[in-house]
C-alpha cells in the first residue's frame, strides 16, 4: 500500500520537477516584462535536441551540454532582441501571438536543421533503479529534482544578493521607477530572456534521458510549464515550483487511483478549482485595483 503510494509520488515528483523547471522560465520572463513567453517550451526542446545531436556527432557530453546551453541562450536573446523588444509597447495579446509565432518558427527551424526523429541522451549516472521502501526511482529523476533545487537556490541568490538581480526585481515591481533609478529596462528584458533560455536548456538536457526529445517536445512541456506558473501565481518562482509539483503529483495520483485516461483532466480541474478560490494562483499577489 505504502510502497504503491510512494511509487506514485516518485512518478509525480519526476514529472513535477520537469514541469517546475519549465514553469520557472515563464516566471522569470513574466517578472521582468509581464510577457508570457509561449516559446519557453521551445527553449527546452532546443536544449535537449542540441545536446543529443552533438553527442550523437561524437562530442563529449559536458562539452555538448555547454554548447547547447550557449546556443539556447543565443536563441533566447535573439528572440528578445528581434521580436519582443520592437513590440514592447504593444498589447499583451499581441506579444503573446508573437511568442506563439516564435514557437512555431523555432519548431520549424529545428525540424529543418535537425530532424523529426526522437532522440535521447545517456542517463548521467547510469540506469540502475534506486530502491526506497519498496518503490523505485531512477537516478536521473534525482538529477532532475536536484538540478531544480540548485536552480531555485541560484535564482534566489541572483535576485536577492546581486545588484543586477535586485534591479531586475525592481523592474518587475515598477518599471517606471526602475527606469528613473537608472536601471536599463532593455538590458533587464534581455537578461531575463537569456536566463529563462538557460533554464529551459538546462531543463531540456536533464529531462531528455527520461522523456526523450524531438522537435515537438516543447509543446507539451510549454503547456505544462505555463500551467505550473499560473497555478503557483504568475511571477512567483516558488509558486512555479510548487505549481509544477502539484500538477505532476496530481497526475500521478490520478492515474494511480482514479483513471489514467483522465489524469490530465484531473490536473486541470485542480487548477480551475484553485483559481476559483485564489484568482491569482497559490502564491500570487492579491492586488486590489487602485481606482
Amino acid at each position: 500500500m505504502f510502497a504503491e503510494l510512494l511509487q506514485y509520488l516518485f512518478a509525480g515528483l519526476t514529472s513535477g520537477a520537469i514541469y517546475a523547471l519549465a514553469g520557472l522560465g515563464f516566471a522569470i520572463i513574466y517578472n521582468a516584462s509581464h510577457v508570457i513567453n509561449f516559446a519557453q517550451g521551445e527553449f527546452i526542446m532546443i536544449g535537449g535536441m542540441a545536446t543529443s545531436m552533438m553527442v550523437a556527432a561524437g562530442l563529449p557530453l559536458p562539452l555538448a551540454i555547454a554548447l547547447a546551453v550557449v546556443v539556447t541562450m543565443m536563441v533566447g536573446v535573439a528572440l528578445e532582441k528581434f521580436a519582443i523588444e520592437p513590440a514592447r509597447n504593444s498589447d499583451v495579446v499581441t506579444i503573446i501571438i508573437i511568442t506563439i509565432g516564435a514557437s512555431i518558427f523555432l519548431r520549424g527551424l529545428a525540424q529543418v536543421v535537425w530532424d523529426k526523429e526522437f532522440h535521447s541522451l545517456p542517463a548521467f549516472s547510469g540506469e540502475t533503479p534506486i530502491n526506497v521502501a519498496g518503490a523505485t526511482l531512477m537516478p536521473q529523476s534525482i538529477w532532475v529534482v536536484g538540478i531544480s533545487v540548485l536552480v531555485i537556490v541560484a535564482l534566489w541568490w541572483f535576485f536577492n544578493r546581486t545588484l543586477f538581480g535586485k534591479a531586475m526585481l525592481a523592474t518587475s515591481f515598477n518599471r517606471l521607477a526602475a527606469q528613473l533609478m537608472g536601471i536599463g529596462v532593455k538590458k533587464v528584458l534581455m537578461v531575463s530572456f537569456a536566463l529563462s533560455a538557460l533554464l529551459g536548456a538546462v531543463g531540456g538536457i536533464v529531462v531528455t534521458p527520461i522523456t526523450f526529445t524531438n522537435y515537438e517536445a516543447g509543446i507539451m512541456l510549454g503547456l505544462k510549464g505555463f500551467s505550473a506558473a499560473v497555478l503557483g501565481g504568475l511571477g512567483n518562482g516558488l509558486g512555479a515550483i510548487v505549481g509544477g509539483l502539484v500538477v505532476g503529483i496530481a497526475e500521478a495520483l490520478a492515474s494511480g487511483y482514479l483513471s489514467s485516461a483522465y489524469k490530465d483532466a484531473v490536473a486541470f480541474v485542480i487548477i480551475l478549482f484553485v483559481l476559483f478560490f485564489l484568482p491569482n494562483g497559490l502564491f500570487g499577489k492579491k492586488g486590489t485595483d487602485r481606482v
Binding site: A11, I18, S120, E127, P129, T211, F212, L253, S260
Partner: protein, 384 residues
C-alpha cells in the same frame, strides 16, 4: 472599405498563384498524389513515407518512367489533422487531377479522406493501420500496412503458445494506440486471453510508472502488452524495467524500428513484438520470398538517407509498387481500370509480406506476414 476589396482581391490572387504553381498540365505524366503527416504527432511515420515516395519516383523517372510516361509525385503535409487531409485530398483530386492517391499516414486522416475519395472515384491506397479503413470494404480504398487487429492477434497467439492467459494492457490514448487497444479487447477472447488490467497514457507523458505500478499490483498478470508508437513505448519500457517487473513485455508493430531500441536502451532487452520482415531482413531464411525484396529496400533506403529503415517507409514502398504495377497492368491511368487491377493484385511480395487482394479483401495480407521478433543484444532477432 476599399481596402477590404483590395485585400480580398490580393488574397485571392496569391491563393490562386500559390495553388496553380507547379501543377501545369503535362499530357504524358502519371500523377500520383499523396497526403502525409510529415509534421505533427505522426511525423516520424509521415517523414520516412514521404522520403520513400520521393526517392522511388525519382529513380523511376531516371529509369524512363512507366511505359515511357514520367511519374509526377504531388504531396502535401496534413500535419495529422483529418480536416486538412480532406482539403488536400480534394486538392489532389480536383485541382491537381491525380490518377491515384497514396497516403493517409494515420487512420484518422485516411478515414476523413475516404469521404472525398469514394464519391470522386479515385483509387486510394492508405498507409495507416486501422482496420476500419478496409472493413467494411470500400470500392476505391486499399491499404498496405497490417491492421492493428492482426498485430493483436499475432501477439495473443504468441502468448497462447507460451501459456499466458492473463494480460495487462497499457496503451497510448491517441489514435494508433487507442484503435489497437480496442481491437485487442475485441480479439482477446478468441485466443483465450483475459485482459485483467487496462491502463492508458498520453503520447507525451514523461513518466508512466504510476500506470505500471497499478498493473504490477494487479493480481495474476502474466504479461504486459503495450500498444502505441513514438517515444511512449520507450518510456513504458524504461519504466517497466525501473519497477523491476519480471513478466514478459510485448509491444505492438508500431515500434518496429531501430530507433525504438536506441531510445529504450538496455531496457528493451527481451521485448517481443510482431513486425514485418523488413526489420529482420538479413535473418530471413534464404528461401523466404520476402528476403530479396526487403534486403534491397533496406539497403537502398539506408544508403540514401543515412538512417535506419522503418516499417512505415516500407508501407509507402509497397503502396507505390502496388499502384505502379496496377497502372502497368491496366495499360492506362483510367481510374476504374486501375482500381480493378489493384484489387486483382496477387502474389505481390512487399516489405510487409505477401499481398493478395480480392474484392472482399482490400489489404491482402495474412497473419503470416507478421513475424514475431525479440530484442536481443540491442537488435531485432527473429523469434518465430
Amino acid at each position: 472599405m476599399r481596402s477590404l476589396v483590395k485585400w480580398g482581391v490580393a488574397a485571392c490572387a496569391v491563393f490562386a498563384a500559390g495553388t496553380f504553381a507547379g501543377t501545369a498540365q503535362a499530357a504524358d505524366t502519371i500523377k500520383i498524389g499523396a497526403f502525409l503527416s510529415v509534421t505533427g504527432p505522426a511525423s516520424f511515420l509521415g517523414e520516412p513515407e514521404k522520403k520513400t515516395l520521393e526517392m522511388y519516383v525519382d529513380r523511376l523517372n531516371k529509369d524512363g518512367g512507366v511505359r515511357g510516361k514520367k511519374v509526377e509525385l504531388i504531396h502535401y503535409d496534413d500535419a495529422g489533422a483529418p480536416d486538412k487531409a480532406v482539403t488536400f485530398a480534394k486538392r489532389l483530386i480536383q485541382n491537381d487531377n491525380v490518377d491515384i492517391i497514396i497516403g493517409g499516414t494515420t487512420t484518422g486522416t485516411s478515414m476523413a479522406a475516404i469521404k472525398v475519395v469514394e464519391p470522386a472515384g479515385v483509387p486510394f491506397i492508405s498507409l495507416a493501420g486501422g482496420i476500419d479503413i478496409i472493413d467494411p470494404v470500400k470500392k476505391w480504398v486499399f491499404k498496405t500496412p497490417h491492421t492493428d487487429r492482426m498485430a493483436a492477434e499475432k501477439v495473443f497467439l504468441d502468448m497462447k503458445k507460451k501459456g499466458i492467459s492473463k494480460v495487462a494492457m497499457i496503451s497510448e490514448d491517441a489514435g494508433f494506440g487507442k484503435s489497437g487497444h480496442d481491437q485487442s479487447l475485441k480479439v482477446a477472447p478468441i485466443y483465450g486471453i483475459q485482459i485483467v488490467a487496462d491502463e492508458v497514457y498520453s503520447p507525451k507523458d514523461p513518466d508512466v510508472t504510476a500506470q505500471l505500478t497499478k498493473i504490477k499490483n494487479t493480481a495474476g498478470v502474466q504479461a504486459v502488452f503495450n500498444f502505441g508508437f513514438g517515444q511512449g513505448p520507450a518510456i513504458v519500457t524504461k519504466n517497466f524495467k525501473q519497477l523491476g517487473m519480471s513478466v514478459p513485455l510485448y509491444q505492438s508493430h508500431g515500434v518496429a524500428s531501430k530507433d525504438f531500441i536506441k531510445l529504450a536502451g538496455e531496457a528493451a532487452e527481451g521485448i517481443r513484438l510482431p513486425a514485418a520482415g523488413l526489420v529482420v531482413a538479413e535473418q530471413l531464411g534464404a528461401t523466404d520470398p520476402q528476403k530479396p525484396v526487403v534486403t534491397a529496400f533496406k539497403k537502398e533506403y539506408e544508403a540514401a538517407f543515412k538512417s535506419d529503415v522503418s516499417t512505415f517507409a516500407g508501407h509507402a514502398y509497397d503502396g507505390l509498387q502496388i499502384a505502379l504495377a496496377a497502372i502497368l497492368r491496366a495499360g492506362s491511368t483510367d481510374k476504374e481500370k486501375v482500381r480493378a487491377e489493384i484489387e486483382k493484385t496477387s502474389g505481390y511480395v512487399g516489405t510487409g509480406g505477401l499481398v493478395s487482394m480480392s474484392p472482399e479483401d482490400h489489404m491482402g495480407l495474412s497473419l503470416s506476414a507478421f513475424r514475431m521478433v525479440e530484442v536481443k543484444k540491442g537488435d531485432w532477432v527473429l523469434a518465430d
